[in-house]
Symmetry: C2
Subunit: 344 residues, 2 copies
């Protein structure tokens, strides 16, 4: 498979450029990163690691453009806090401080803004981060869709922690912390007005306390982490495979998906491996400590459904291969196109 980086081929920005999949990689790796030319940025983790006077900090940013603003299990406010907290946690950084920048469309209801602010406050209090600086812009009616939120985050990384998406090693076990696809299908069902027998709720949650428990179970054993948001598990494992120059072998039967999510995916022709999650992580763990880290995850409320879903293998092409439930195998590539725009 050709994983070399090409510029985007057209002349315009496409929805697929925001997908988390192949097109986004072309835009980001092929155009944005080269133009900015910075080694810390080129590392392409979910967060930058800064060393300031001997203090190691994680620093990250995320904009949230999810549509609708309110959905089963959460809203854009909780998502904006948890998403940035999780990007810090994926580098082993304890989240401490967030910024909050709002872009508001003229005419947006203050009552909805207020609901979202209260959700932001609740989410921040729930995971012990403080929102310490902010910005508010307003654009004309029709120049934005209701509300966009950006949060940036600063966290502190303990002395010996070294977690990076280029850190996976052959033999590492792949831990997935829970069920796939809940967030994406909650958004889709709300957006499309689907009714399912069992309600599908977003899994949006702050992952730091889970990460902390996993790190404590076996210090140094976690080599890489990623939260499978846009582009889903498929994109997250492919990114780690490419940056670590390894292959991955996944077992489909080990990957938990809730029944209603599976049903909704089938109805819409979507593969749960590509659907966004907002409260799950994958961790690449040294094989000698994988069971211990798994047990720590399963003891945490956010990791109850954690499973070991595969293994890192040698592969010059850095492929991700899935052993299917039917005894075959297939290549799991980056997402192509964008079946689920504005999912976060």
């Amino acid at each position: 498979m050709d994983h070399s980086v090409h510029r985007p081929s057209g002349t315009e920005v496409l929805l697929a450029h925001g997908s988390g999949g192949r097109s986004m990689h072309q835009l980001v790796d092929g155009l944005i990163i080269p133009h900015l030319n910075n080694p810390l940025l080129a590392r392409m983790d979910d967060q930058a690691v800064l060393d300031i006077s001997g203090v190691r900090l994680g620093f990250t940013t995320d904009s949230f453009v999810v549509d609708p603003l309110f959905f089963p299990g959460g809203d854009i406010g909780a998502l904006a806090v948890n998403g940035t907290v999780n990007d810090l946690a994926m580098g082993g950084a304890r989240p401490l401080y967030l910024s909050l920048a709002l872009i508001l469309e003229e005419g947006f209801a203050l009552a909805e803004l207020e609901r979202i602010l209260l959700s932001i406050r609740g989410a921040a209090e729930a995971c012990g981060v403080q929102i310490v600086t902010g910005d508010t812009k307003v654009v004309h009616r029709g120049s934005a869709d209701k509300l966009f939120i950006n949060t940036a985050g600063v966290g502190v990384i303990a002395g010996e922690t070294r977690i990076t998406c280029s850190g996976a090693a052959v033999g590492d076990r792949i831990l997935l912390s829970g069920t796939l696809g809940d967030h994406g299908m909650a958004i889709m069902s709300r957006r499309e007005g689907f009714q399912f027998e069992a309600p599908i709720e977003s899994d949006t949650a702050p992952l730091w306390s889970l990460v902390e428990a996993m790190l404590a179970a076996a210090p140094g054993a976690i080599h890489a982490m990623r939260d499978p948001t846009r582009g889903g598990l498929a994109s997250a494992v492919n990114e780690i495979a490419q940056h670590s120059a390894v292959g991955m072998r996944l077992q489909e039967q080990a990957i938990p998906v809730r029944e209603p999510v599976r049903g909704a995916c089938e109805m819409l022709g979507l593969d749960p491996l590509y659907v966004a999650n907002e409260g799950k992580l994958i961790a690449l763990v040294h094989p000698a400590h994988a069971e211990r880290v798994l047990a720590a995850a399963q003891s945490h409320p956010l990791g109850r459904d954690a499973r070991l879903i595969g293994t890192v293998v040698e592969d010059a092409e850095h492929l991700v291969v899935l052993d299917t439930a039917f005894g075959g195998s297939r290549i799991v590539d980056l997402l192509a196109g964008d079946p689920l725009p504005r999912i976060c």
Copy 2:
């Protein structure tokens, strides 16, 4: 004058809520800040000051929604770098690292994106900051206007530096680093297609090296700083007056405004005191050191036109009063309404 904080009175977001003036204060101080309930945020400086393991950091965020994206003297990319660098500098923080988050409208020309990325790179290199982490989102055509940029910034604050908008003291001299209104009128003239004899260019520039020179001239002498962006000089001095619980007396004749800017303002019925600047600062300086700090500013290319424009006075109502060129005086209040939306 009643400076107590009221909630916004209507039920919807208005353009004026993004103005930098009275309405924005109602939205931010009356709704956003109380809901988020955080003492670091309530400090209301342009940046938060964080103490992490004894290292003092400045942390700030700004979204940029300027229309048009390209204007005389700059573009949204340079603005996004300089704006955040300046918010850090206003707290005496040496800017080190920026995040960069793009919200792109489907259909936006990649060639324009590329031009803006190169401008971002140039602006970052010019002031020695690194863009270390980022995010890219794409929304449907019509759900955003071309491109919005958010930058957050992290900088380091030297041990003894204590600069805050609540730090102005009676007797302090008010230093303005240069001419007023250039950015706002450059945007307006480009937006409205005005032609002036002398071209008006945005003053967008990174202010840290100027701040550094001023700090070095008289350590501890600068009590407060603000860059007069949205809402202009009038908003910046009013904010400091309120947070420091003092009054201000300004001399109109000392305030430099370029002739073409003055002419454009007259034509549009705008007061240069309320027009946005993107490469200017005001500093509140201990009177014993004001001349020395002024000389340092004037020796710097970005402070050549610096002037002492007024004095901090006792005033229980925290009024800003301008002694006019004609020998009268008038109260300079916060901006009401928003004559210049999407100026930054």
